[in-house]
């Protein structure tokens, strides 16, 4: 009798183990990579049918490549390049739509972000890979061309014109726009995914492998080495998708004559923004808005206007200062954990903003 019970128990336990191990293989993680907009893209798409996720990824990749061809300032023949070289061009309807959104964002964010900064950013040389401090008089002349009101968009004729000497630089918004393109296709196919696009992160749906369906995002240590993380953020994409965009002074940094310069330019001065911040990460359902906000907030600093912008866009943010203090907006406080407590600590708005 005892032997019979033992055999039965062993059989049941075995069956349970086999079922559990089989169930764990249900939603497969499929990994992909590509390049676009000067950035590496790493993607994890979850699905039971690999062929279907392969097809979906090809579709997503093609759509992002198409957007890159329109918006890249460095590719000859792109819509942005043609506007910059001739001052006026007939463009793709998608470019018209993108630039309309971009101009609106620049104005809404008090021109702390300005897509007509192209002549200034070109002088600094961050895109070319050999940045240097520009000559002061050349910088002043370039700064005189910065004026979002100089962009004229004729939607009916798909024509975009800029004022004499103006150059468009949409680098601060390109990855966010690409995230939105990817997001639409993932949501349409109800696919859970986690994608890193040059440091921007897009999550869609519930994480099949995560606790409570949450995605766990590490945040790069802005004061440490590139492979160190200083905090963890748990995200649940309740509206279907969330994007994280970070503007940080640690990227594309260089030194000249003993002074350090970063690439996030204040449109008022033509010089890198200096307000004690090393990074601002924005979490928002829209990739484009997250991108725009992260740049504008870095330039604007932490103040009441910045907090108001975040609320009006339905976004949250993490502000990290040079002294290691961190301010996190209320809604994501409980989802945010500092992992490097030796260097960083969270503080209240009052303490961070003073």
């Amino acid at each position: 009798m005892r032997g019979f019970i033992l055999k039965k128990t062993a059989a049941v336990l075995s069956a349970v183990c086999i079922i559990v191990s089989l169930c764990a293989c249900g939603s497969q993680k499929n990994e992909y990579s590509s390049f676009a907009m000067g950035s590496a893209v790493s993607a994890s798409l979850y699905g039971k049918d690999k062929k279907q996720t392969d097809l979906l990824w090809n579709e997503i990749s093609s759509a992002v490549t198409a957007a890159d061809r329109l918006l890249s300032a460095t590719s000859d023949g792109s819509d942005i390049s043609r506007i910059n070289s001739t001052g006026s061009a007939i463009v793709d309807s998608r470019t018209v739509s993108f630039l309309q959104k971009a101009v609106l964002l620049c104005n809404t964010l008090n021109r702390r972000l300005d897509i007509t900064l192209g002549a200034v950013t070109a002088l600094w040389g961050f895109t070319g890979g050999t940045p240097s401090v520009p000559d002061e008089s050349a910088l002043k002349a370039a700064l005189d061309t910065v004026n979002i009101d100089g962009v004229f968009i004729d939607e009916a004729n798909r024509t975009v014109s800029v004022e004499n000497g103006q150059k468009l630089d949409v680098g601060a918004l390109g990855k966010g726009e690409a995230c939105d393109i990817m997001k639409e296709k993932l949501l349409a196919s109800d696919t859970a995914a986690c994608i890193s696009f040059g440091g921007n992160v897009l999550v869609t749906g519930e994480n099949p492998k995560g606790k409570n369906g949450e995605w766990k995002i590490g945040m790069r240590d802005p004061l440490g080495s590139p492979d160190e993380v200083f905090a963890a953020l748990s995200l649940k994409a309740e509206n279907g998708a969330l994007c994280v965009s970070t503007s940080g002074s640690y990227e594309k940094r260089f030194e000249e004559n003993g002074k350090s310069y970063h690439h996030i330019i204040n449109p008022d001065t033509g010089y890198p923004a200096e307000n004690g911040l090393v990074s601002v990460s924005v979490i928002c359902p829209s990739g484009l808005n997250a991108d725009a906000l992260s740049t504008a907030l870095f330039v604007n600093g932490l103040n009441e206007t910045s907090v108001l912008w975040l609320k009006s866009f339905g976004a949250d943010a993490v502000f990290v200062f040079e002294n290691g203090t961190v301010f996190v907006t209320d809604s994501i406080c409980k989802n945010f954990t500092i992992t490097n407590t030796d260097v960083y600590k969270t503080v209240s708005y009052e303490e961070a903003a003073k």
């Binding site: 055999k7 039965k8 062993a10 059989a11 336990l13 075995s14 069956a15 349970v16 183990c17 086999i18 191990s21 764990a24 990994e31 992909y32 990579s33 590509s34 390049f35 000067g38 950035s39 590496a40 790493s42 994890s44 990749s61 890979g129 986690c194 994608i195 890193s196 440091g199 921007n200 992160v201 999550v203 994480n207 492998k209 995560g210 606790k211 995605w215 766990k216 995002i217 590490g218 945040m219 790069r220 590139p226 492979d227 993380v229 963890a232 953020l233 994280v244 970070t246 940080g248 990227e251 990460s281």
Partner: protein, 114 residues
């Protein structure tokens, strides 16, 4: 029959645990995987040439770009990677290195924002 099932179940659980350990290094060329290995399995120095002009070295649990025909050499400046979720890219040559932890992500990150 019960013994066979029990052995099969134990073997399945063991295999799952095995897959959960370690870090998988992948090298992509233009989106296609050209190299994949568990980093801890690489004992001797291994050189990978995904495309002419680019050399990647894997050794002692680390992997990184060691030679490139690109101008900026940003890929080489990324250094030797060893931590999960690290990436290095040679964009002009369209080569990407990623390190992913094996198994469930409950203890690790799904991605890194930077």
């Amino acid at each position: 029959m019960s013994s066979v099932l029990l052995i099969a179940a134990v073997a399945a659980c063991f295999l799952m645990r095995e897959r959960q350990n370690g870090i998988t290094a992948r090298v992509y060329l233009d989106g296609q995987t050209v190299f994949e290995a568990n980093l801890s399995d690489i004992k001797e120095k291994k050189v990978i040439t995904p495309v002419v002009g680019v050399e990647i070295t894997a050794e002692n649990g680390k992997i990184g770009f060691t030679s490139s025909s690109c101008q900026s050499h940003d890929c080489i400046k990324s250094g030797m990677l060893s931590k999960p979720y690290s990436t290095a890219a040679c964009i002009p040559n369209r080569v990407l290195i990623t390190l992913s932890p094996n198994g469930h992500t409950g203890n690790g990150y799904d991605s890194i924002a930077y």
